[in-house]
């Protein structure tokens, strides 16, 4: 009796495993679905607000205007880099070249990834403090804590204001994400400005933690010194003041790059390496196979560019009205017609208009 029962259970288990294997093998054949012969175009979603907006806008045009099904794939930045090169991703709409110079140079020079031009016109990176630190905020009952704080030079006088709770003898600069180029660049600049004895650096490992830390301090009305960048929803939502730095020059940035790569050790960084971040372009990257199978989409992406101020406006709309990126994209199409019509030929524009009308958008 016992033998037959265990035989039956063994058979059932084997049947289950075989079924799963067959389902697994059979499933992948159908998943690269095409509609009318047009294969899916995969956009990378590196999980920040502006890329959601860009993906929504580009995705709408590619799908409704050019007729290719679009799929956004959630990835972290390193995964995006690997996938774009391999072809598992077709397009990454925001490659912040300043943060991945080595990778970007390598893949574009070898032709493994196509640089389709800028997606926004200007970005700002730097060290920010909440505006209430400098000007106070009468509504919230916050008195100005550092009224003469204007540039990074002035930081020399305020390490105690931005005190590091884990090392109260020094101040604290919250730096950018571990692994991004700016993390090392901030260390180099701290040395160049002569602030390394006065300030510690705290590196968050993820932008979620960085945003939460900034939000928390801002809501509590506490002083905070942090690296950040624009365009971002956070900079749109909070009142932050950018500290002035000596203007960017190529010679200065060459020194910073040497510090980042380790050619010049941190202790030997000269004051001449202290200058503002270069406005490194944010570009659209595509895998070369996309040019073969959808050259018209690549032509569109080469033209797509949203000026930063307009992108900020869309981000602001998204926050104010608490809507998703898809909805914000429709608002963009309605309000920036001169802009997007330049990117596409007449017939594509007509199809996009039809789709917008179907979605209830008045043009």
């Amino acid at each position: 009796m016992a033998l037959r029962k265990s035989n039956w259970q063994g058979f059932a288990a084997a049947l289950l495993v075989v079924t799963m294997l067959l389902a697994g093998c059979g499933g992948t054949g159908g998943s690269s679905a095409s509609s009318g012969g047009k294969q899916v175009i995969k956009l990378g979603d590196m999980q920040w607000q502006t890329i959601w907006i860009n993906n929504a806008i580009a995705g709408f045009i590619i799908e409704k205007g050019y007729g290719y099904p679009v799929q956004t794939v959630t990835v972290t930045t390193p995964i995006m880099q690997v996938s774009l090169e391999k072809g598992d991703l077709d397009v990454a709409l925001e490659i912040w070249t300043g943060n991945m110079m080595d990778w970007y140079t390598r893949v574009t020079e070898s032709g493994k990834v196509l640089d389709l031009g800028k997606v926004m016109d200007r970005t700002t990176q730097g060290w920010y403090v909440p505006t209430y630190v400098v000007k106070g905020d009468p509504e919230r009952g916050i008195a100005p804590m550092a009224p003469d704080l204007k540039s990074v030079e002035d930081l020399k006088r305020y390490p105690q204001l931005f005190r590091d709770p884990e090392d109260p003898s020094k101040g604290r600069l919250i730096s950018c994400i571990t692994g991004w180029d700016c993390a090392m660049a901030n260390r180099v600049k701290l040395h160049a400005y002569g602030l390394d004895d006065l300030y510690n650096i705290q590196e968050p490992g993820t932008s979620g933690a960085l945003d939460a830390a900034i939000m928390g301090a801002y809501q509590r009305g506490e002083p905070l010194l942090t690296y950040y960048w624009e365009p971002t929803w956070l900079m749109g939502a909070l009142e932050m003041t950018l500290l002035e730095e000596p203007p960017y020059t190529e010679q200065c940035w060459a020194l910073v790059r040497k510090g980042v790569s380790g050619e010049i050790p941190l202790s030997e960084i000269p004051p001449e390496a202290g200058c503002a971040y270069e406005d490194a372009p944010v570009v659209i990257g595509a895998n070369p196979t996309l040019k073969e199978r959808a050259p018209e989409v690549v032509a569109f992406l080469e033209k797509m560019m949203i000026p930063t101020d307009d992108l900020n406006a869309v981000a602001h709309y998204m926050e104010e009205n608490d809507v998703e990126a898809d909805h914000a994209a429709l608002w963009f199409f309605a309000n920036y017609q001169d802009l997007w019509r330049d990117w596409v030929p007449e017939d594509v524009a007509e199809r996009v208009e039809e789709a917008l009308a179907a979605a209830g958008v008045q043009l």
Binding site: P204, G205, T206, A209, G216
Partner: protein, 284 residues
């Protein structure tokens, strides 16, 4: 037909957001104070461990390993710790060790009384069990983002995250160990007229000790597995090296840091198992 009806919508997300906002507004000074209270011993411990010369730490670990598990483990521990040093990761490892020690001590301090209380009361067990499930499976960042908003980044949220993730095995196994103490041992204790306190200290805890030690051992393992998340929220250590390696596509760097974490885990595991074996149940 297969989509959930839209008219039944629970705005739970909005309620939670409102709750967190309220907490920040109302509790600001309290959380600042609590953060300071938690931070001081952490910073003190780390500075102490960093101040100790490296060879002293290695000798101390070797001595403990020898005492609990024999010379083979001691030799292995010395070699692997030297290996970590030769990778240039010694300071990182010590910072990680601080976090693991703090998280584990906190976890054990909470787990043993909680486990004992759970063992005594079925009702309490029913209430606490789903809480333990939550602590082990809720993605860390779900509660970490509010924690960072309230406490800022740094060692405090890191120890909290480590504690929340690592304490459930200790609680569960303390509860289990005590409940599994053989009935005849309990009856023997009662026959000799033990008070509940004596029963606990002299009968139940000693007999449950192997299971409790298994729980603590698991707690330490899970504390080490939180190391990368701890680094994401501002606690330096081996996790920072892993993140740097991932962020810059330097796989070797992540691997070296990862191997160091594994080495620490194995050493602590063997030492704590040796410690459990050297205290056989039934004594005292």
């Amino acid at each position: 037909m297969n989509t959930f009806p839209q008219f039944v919508q629970l705005p739970l997300a909005d309620w939670i957001d409102a709750g967190i906002d309220w907490l920040v507004q109302v509790g600001g000074p309290f959380f600042d104070w609590m953060g300071e209270v938690l931070l001081k011993p952490l910073v003190g411990l780390e500075q102490f461990l960093l101040w100790l010369p490296w060879w002293l730490i290695i000798l101390a670990v070797a001595a403990v390993a020898w005492k609990t598990s024999g010379w083979k483990l001691a030799a292995g521990a010395v070699l692997s710790l030297l290996f970590i040093g030769m990778l240039g990761l010694w300071t990182h490892a010590i910072k990680t060790l601080t976090l693991v020690i703090a998280g584990t001590v906190l976890a054990v301090a909470v787990a043993i009384p909680t486990g004992i209380a759970m063992a005594r009361s079925d009702r309490l067990e029913r209430i606490i069990r789903p809480l333990l499930d939550l602590m082990q499976t809720l993605p860390s960042f779900v509660y970490l983002v509010p924690v960072i908003i309230l406490f800022g980044m740094g060692k405090v949220p890191a120890v909290m995250a480590t504690f929340i993730y690592a304490v459930p095995p200790a609680i569960r196994l303390t509860n289990l160990g005590i409940r599994q103490v053989p009935q005849d041992a309990i009856e023997a204790g009662q026959a000799f007229g033990s008070t509940p306190r004596q029963m606990l200290l002299k009968v139940q805890l000693p007999l449950a000790l192997p299971t409790i030690m298994a729980g603590i051992n698991q707690t330490v393992m899970m504390a080490l597995s939180m190391v990368v998340i701890a680094s994401m929220i501002g606690a330096e250590g081996l996790g920072t090296e892993v993140l740097n390696g991932i962020g810059r596509l330097e796989t070797g760097r992540s691997f070296a840091a990862g191997i160091s974490i594994v080495i620490m885990a194995i050493i602590i595991d063997r030492i704590s198992q040796g410690f459990a074996r050297s205290r056989p149940a039934g004594q005292g």
